[in-house]
């Protein structure tokens, strides 16, 4: 137990992101309702963001906003130690990824509304039956 705990503490973020991702992926593949699949898609994407944010974390460091730098010119009087601040790059990447994911989510929701307008259902098996009903494609 004593040597297991440090191992868990050292890696648990990485393991939990894998679990979240598996939940999302499973929902995307196996769920029948299209909106449920969309939720799965979002969980999948947030899991990746969690992974990136975990990469950026540093022990004993603070948020990536330089302190006492409001003055501008005299900012570099104080020496900045890289070990004091969390890595900002993964945060930047993930801001972009969140934006992309919300854009995809919006478009997917619009598509779901369109599908419902046409077929009056969002269940995949029912949709497949309706598709057979409307006959061969043109």
């Amino acid at each position: 137990m004593t040597d297991l705990l440090p191992l868990i503490v050292a890696k648990y973020n990485y393991w939990l992101y894998v679990i979240l991702m598996m939940i999302g992926l499973y929902a995307m593949i196996a769920k029948n309702n299209l909106i449920k699949k969309l939720v799965g898609m979002n969980i999948f994407q947030t899991a990746i963001i969690l992974f990136y944010v975990s990469i950026g974390y540093k022990r004993d460091a603070t948020i990536p906003i330089i302190q006492n730098a409001h003055g501008g010119h005299d900012a570099h009087n104080a020496v900045i130690h890289a070990a004091d601040y969390i890595n900002p790059l993964p945060h930047v990447l993930m801001l972009t990824a969140i934006v992309v994911s919300v854009a995809t989510f919006g478009v997917a929701m619009a598509l779901a509304v369109r599908i419902y307008q046409r077929y009056q259902t969002l269940e995949e098996d029912e949709l497949r039956m309706r598709l057979v009903d409307i006959g061969p494609e043109k």
Partner: protein, 274 residues
């Protein structure tokens, strides 16, 4: 399908867990990810850009090119929702409420339009009770939310936030207006045309600033070349460039969010919704 999904998920999970085996410990300050580029940004960004929020500095300057496309993605999503759902045909039936008696009228003839005003009130088909408390509270809240949004955009250089977050907050204040009153109130105040123009204009501000830098002889988005045309302290030119870019992002995101919401909630009819 469930079984297949389960197998795929298990395979992916195993692969990913196998990959985590060689990961550095969580929060290790000496992991490769935290020393190579990260140290450069932390140590040099303030000196080079005069922006203390490193995330903003990297987002809008070092990797400003990414952010431009990110804004284009949002614009594209708004346009896609418009293209997919917008339906210019008028609805045939209408509902009115006679204000003094609270009687609801259902007008099936599309030509017959009652004048709304003191006597009659326009209503949605899926009836939403007009709640005085919600309306009043939202009416008080919305201006404050909007001022906060502007603060988030403008203060993105110094504190968490920036164009995207501010734009989303501003957009949600408009959405709140639509939810607490009704969709017509929002659509009447902010025309679809205005939203469409603003969405394109926001991204255009971003790309335009980049193109001006190019015209001034620098590389694309190289804000330091803007010194001759921007008044103010030349040391802060990069911070000012970022501010301009963030304002563009904010405008584009606000408009895109409202477009997406209106089109989804009214199925593209722009008449009634939540």
């Amino acid at each position: 399908m469930k079984f297949l999904g389960f197998i795929v998920v298990c395979l992916t999970g195993t692969l990913l867990l196998y990959g985590t085996g060689e990961f550095p410990d969580w929060g290790d300050p000496d992991s490769p990810a935290s020393i190579h580029l990260s140290n450069y940004y932390i140590e040099k960004a303030v000196e080079e850009t005069q922006v203390p929020n490193l995330v903003t500095a990297v987002l809008a300057d070092y990797r400003g090119f990414d952010t431009m496309f990110e804004t284009a993605v949002v614009f594209c999503a708004g346009l896609a929702c418009f293209l997919l759902l917008r339906d210019f045909r008028e609805k045939k039936e209408r509902f009115y409420r006679h204000t003094p008696t609270r009687v609801i009228l259902h007008v099936k003839d599309s030509k017959k339009v009652l004048k709304t005003g003191k006597e009659f009130e326009h209503m949605d088909k899926d009836w939403v009770p007009s709640d005085l408390i919600i309306r009043t509270v939202c009416r008080i809240l919305i201006p404050f939310i909007q001022i906060y949004a502007l603060y988030v955009v403008a203060h993105g250089d110094f504190s968490p936030g920036g164009g995207f977050q501010g734009g989303v907050i501003f957009g949600s204040s408009l959405i709140l207006l639509a939810i607490s009153y009704d969709l017509k109130t929002l659509v009447r105040r902010i025309k679809e045309k205005v939203l469409g123009i603003y969405a394109a204009l926001g991204v255009l501000i971003y790309v335009g600033i980049g193109a001006i830098c190019m015209a001034m002889g620098g590389n694309f988005l190289d804000y330091s070349k803007l010194v001759p045309i921007v008044p103010g302290d030349p040391h802060h030119i990069r911070a000012l460039g970022m501010l301009g870019v963030e304002i563009g992002v904010g405008i584009a995101v606000t408009a895109a969010m409202v477009i997406i919401y209106i089109n989804i909630v009214s199925e593209g009819k722009h008449d009634e919704g939540l």
